[in-house]
């Protein structure tokens, strides 16, 4: 999950999610970055609208709260 958190950190900080940035973060965290996984992650996230995805992910919590109201 380290790779995913690194990507989300970059997203939250408004920085570009690229191999270099992810590796820098992982290194700073003392994690030895696996080149292939970093590459694969960046490739997989290409074209993914992160904002939208995490909004949807937060939804079940919101929906769950509704009926209780």
């Amino acid at each position: 999950m380290e790779y995913v958190y690194a990507a989300l950190l970059l997203h939250a900080a408004g920085k570009e999610i690229n191999e270099e940035n992810i590796k820098a973060i992982l290194q700073a965290a003392g994690v030895e970055a696996d080149d292939a996984r970093v590459k694969a992650l960046v490739a997989a996230l290409d074209g993914v609208n992160i904002e939208e995805v995490i909004e949807k992910a937060a939804m079940p919590v919101a929906v769950a709260a509704a009926p209780a109201a």
Partner: protein, 288 residues
């Protein structure tokens, strides 16, 4: 049989012929059935059978004669079930269906002293239409908690006055009739039925439909499970098979945090929800 009256011989002959001409021969008790429901039943059965009321002794002779004529000694067994006011119901309907049909055709009937009820008789709680009078005392004597309320007799508490299999006393019949409760059932009571070498008693013929429905559902689920679990596709299961394969693949990818088009949402979402839940635990001024 020389001393037997000619009409009796003829009657036995006719009954025997009737028995021989239908595959299913049932004995029904018509002792307590009024004429109207009886003729109604004849009409309903018209297409599929004949109902003949006769003397028990003649029915007995006719069954034995028919059994001999067609060489089916098993049919004789049926004669042992003659009781009450027996009648012959000769039909094409399978005995189980016939039993079901006769049960469903029964109608409620008023209480009669000496009759046996086949289900619990309950007097419901609440007001009745009865005016105050000696009836209150009569009820109390039978253990029915009756009282006068707002000028009417009222029952204080739901009371079971008879259990299934018990006999109606004259006193209770009187009360039940006053209350308009009809604890008896009137209709043809099936005593036994013969088909194809076998005599079926009512205990065998009473089938629990709910149980069959459950078996159907279980059998279907088994077939469904088998088809999906071994990936043998059928029209009904192909979608479930695809979904199972997809969900399996997706779950593995999500568990492994391997991001694809189909798992990005779940994996990022998982991480985001963790962050969100953690954030909820933090003091507000820590958050943006």
């Amino acid at each position: 049989m020389a001393h037997v009256a000619e009409w009796k011989k003829k009657e036995v002959e006719e009954l025997a012929n009737l028995i021989k001409s239908y595959p299913v021969i049932a004995l029904v008790n018509v002792a307590d059935v009024p004429a109207y429901p009886l003729s109604k039943m004849r009409e309903t059965l018209k297409e599929q059978g004949v109902l003949r009321v006769s003397r028990n002794t003649l029915i007995d002779l006719a069954i034995k004669k028919a059994a001999q004529d067609i060489g089916k000694p098993e049919l004789e067994e049926l004669a042992k079930h003659i009781q009450g006011g027996a009648a012959i119901l000769a039909t094409n309907i399978n005995p189980f269906k016939l039993y079901k049909f006769l049960q469903e055709s029964k109608k409620p009937a008023p209480a009669k002293p000496g009759a046996v009820v086949n289900k619990d008789v309950v007097i419901p709680a609440g007001p009745t239409s009865l005016a105050p009078g000696p009836v209150v005392g009569e009820m109390q004597a039978l253990g029915i908690p009756a009282r006068i309320e707002k000028g009417k007799v009222s029952i204080q508490k739901e009371t079971v006055v008879l259990k299934a299999g018990e006999t109606i006393t004259p006193q209770l019949a009187n009360i039940l009739n006053k209350l308009g409760i009809e604890p008896l059932e009137v209709g043809l009571e099936l005593l036994a039925a013969y088909e194809d070498g076998l005599v079926y008693g009512p205990d065998v013929l009473a089938i629990d439909e709910e149980q069959y429905i459950q078996m159907l559902q279980q059998a279907y689920m088994h077939a469904f499970n088998l088809s999906v679990n071994v990936a043998y596709p059928t029209k009904q299961t192909i979608e479930a098979i695809i979904q199972k394969a997809f969900m399996g693949a997706k779950n593995v990818a999500v568990e492994a945090n391997y991001i694809t088009k189909d798992t990005a949402g779940d994996i990022l979402g998982k991480a985001f929800r963790v962050a969100l839940l953690i954030a909820q635990e933090l003091p507000e001024d820590l958050l943006d």
